[in-house]
Symmetry: none
Subunit: 208 residues, 2 copies
DNA sequence: CGTCGGAAATGACATTTGTCATTGACGAAA
DNA sequence: TTTCGTCAATGACAAATGTCATTTCCGACG
C-alpha cells in the first residue's frame, strides 16, 4: 500500500486528487495539506511514501516546502503538479531532487505516476521532457560589476578561457608575466575560485 | 489493457520480463523479440503501446532499433532497459524521443514504469535523473574514438572540465594521484593540447 | 609642492602540474 | 607454462602556477 500526502491550496483540486487516488486499491491518501506550511508540519507525523504537491501556492510555494520537508529528514518522494510549464520551477525542482514533475491536466496518469515514483523511478510529463534540454542549458547570467571585475581583468579572463599561459597573456597585453599572475590571483579571489582551470570553467558556464 | 512488446537478446531476461509483466492484470505481453532486427520486423503488426527494450544487444542495438521503429511510423512508447548507466546511450535514447530509461536491477518497478509510460509520462531510473543535467548539456561534435580516448579518459576530461584537481579526480575515481596525472598527460598528448586549462577549453568548445 | 592611491612590477616561496622512466599486477594469448 | 600488453602506481624532475609582501611609477588632488 502506497501512502500519499496531497498538498494544494485549492480545496477543489486537492479534493479531486484525493478521489482519484483513493479510488486505486493500492494507494491510500493519508493526509491533505492546504498550504506549504501545513505540509511541512504534517510530513514528519504522516511520513508518506509520496507527496503530491502543487508547485504554485500562496505563501510558501511547492519547491520551498519540498526543500524544508527533505531537510527535515523525510524520505518521501516528491511529485510536483503544475498547470503549465514553468521553467524556473522545473529547474528548482530538479535541483532539490524532486522525483517527478507532471502536468495536472492529465490526471488520468496520476496513479501510475505515483506508483512509479514510489518504486524509485523518476517521472516527467511528456512535454516536460522535451523541454529539459533547453532548460538545463540555461545559465544564470553573470554580472561583472557584481564582483568588482575591472575591464582589464575581464580581458584576462577571456585569455585564460582561451587556454593561454600567463606569459602569453602578458605578451598580448604588454604587461609583465608577474603582473598577469597577480591579476589572475586577484580574479580568483574575487570569484572564489581555486585555479585558472576553474576560471575557464566558470567562463564557459556562466559568461559565454 | 496495455499491450507490450519485449526486446532482449537474452532469452532468460526476456522470459523473466514477460512473467513479471504478464502477472499484471492490466498488462499483456503481445510479443517477444530476440533482437533489434526482429523487433523492427514485428513492430508494425504487433503495434504495441509500449516497447520494453534492452539497450545493449548483439547486432542492431536498442537505440538503432528504436529509431527504425519510430521511423516506420509506430506510435509505441519506448522504454529502455539497461544494466548500468551508460552516458552515450542515455543521450541517444533521449534524442530519438524515448519515453523511459530505467535500470534492470529494480525490475519490481517495471510494471508501474510501463503504466506511466503508456499514459504518456516519461520515466527515468532514480540514478539516471541525477545524471541528466550533465548529460543533456553535451552535444557531440567530437568523436572520442577518433582520438583513441578511452571511456576512463573521457571521465577524467569531464572532471577536469569541472575544475577538479588531480587529487580530487583521483579520489572520485579511486586511483592514485600520479595515475590521474599520467592519464591527463596522455590525454593532452592525444588531443595535442598543452595543459589542463586548454583541455577544459577544448571540452567546452568542442564537446559540450 | 607633497602625498595619496591605484596600476604595474619584482622577488621569494609553496604548490600544482606535466613529463618521463620504471615497476608491479593481472589477464589474454601463444 | 611463458610471454606479451595494458593498466595502475611510483619517484624524480622541470615548468607553470598561485600567493604574498614589497617597491616603483604616475596621475589626481589637496
Amino acid at each position: 500500500m502506497i501512502s500519499v500526502m496531497i498538498v494544494d491550496d485549492d480545496p477543489f483540486v486537492s479534493g479531486s486528487l484525493k478521489i482519484i487516488l483513493d479510488n486505486e486499491p493500492d494507494i491510500e491518501v493519508k493526509a491533505v495539506a492546504g498550504s506549504g506550511e501545513e505540509a511541512v508540519k504534517l510530513a514528519p507525523s504522516v511520513a508518506p511514501d509520496v507527496i503530491v504537491m502543487d508547485i504554485r501556492m500562496e505563501g510558501m510555494n511547492g519547491t520551498e516546502a519540498a526543500q524544508k520537508i527533505i531537510e527535515n529528514g523525510s524520505s518521501a518522494a516528491i511529485l510536483f503538479l503544475t498547470t503549465f510549464l514553468d521553467d524556473e520551477y522545473i529547474n528548482k525542482a530538479l535541483k532539490i531532487g524532486a522525483k517527478g514533475y507532471i502536468i495536472k491536466q492529465d490526471c488520468g496518469s496520476l496513479p501510475s505516476s505515483v506508483r512509479a515514483v514510489a518504486s524509485g523511478q523518476a517521472v516527467f510529463g511528456g512535454k516536460v521532457v522535451e523541454k529539459l534540454p533547453d532548460l538545463l542549458n540555461r545559465k544564470e547570467r553573470f554580472d561583472p560589476s557584481e564582483f568588482d571585475i575591472t575591464p582589464k581583468e575581464l580581458e584576462v579572463i577571456k585569455f585564460v578561457a582561451d587556454g593561454l599561459s600567463n606569459k602569453e597573456i602578458a605578451e598580448k597585453m604588454f604587461l609583465g608575466e608577474g603582473t598577469v599572475r597577480n591579476m589572475v590571483s586577484s580574479i580568483l579571489t574575487k570569484l572564489d575560485l581555486r585555479d585558472r582551470t576553474q576560471l575557464a570553467c566558470f567562463y564557459y558556464q556562466k559568461m559565454v
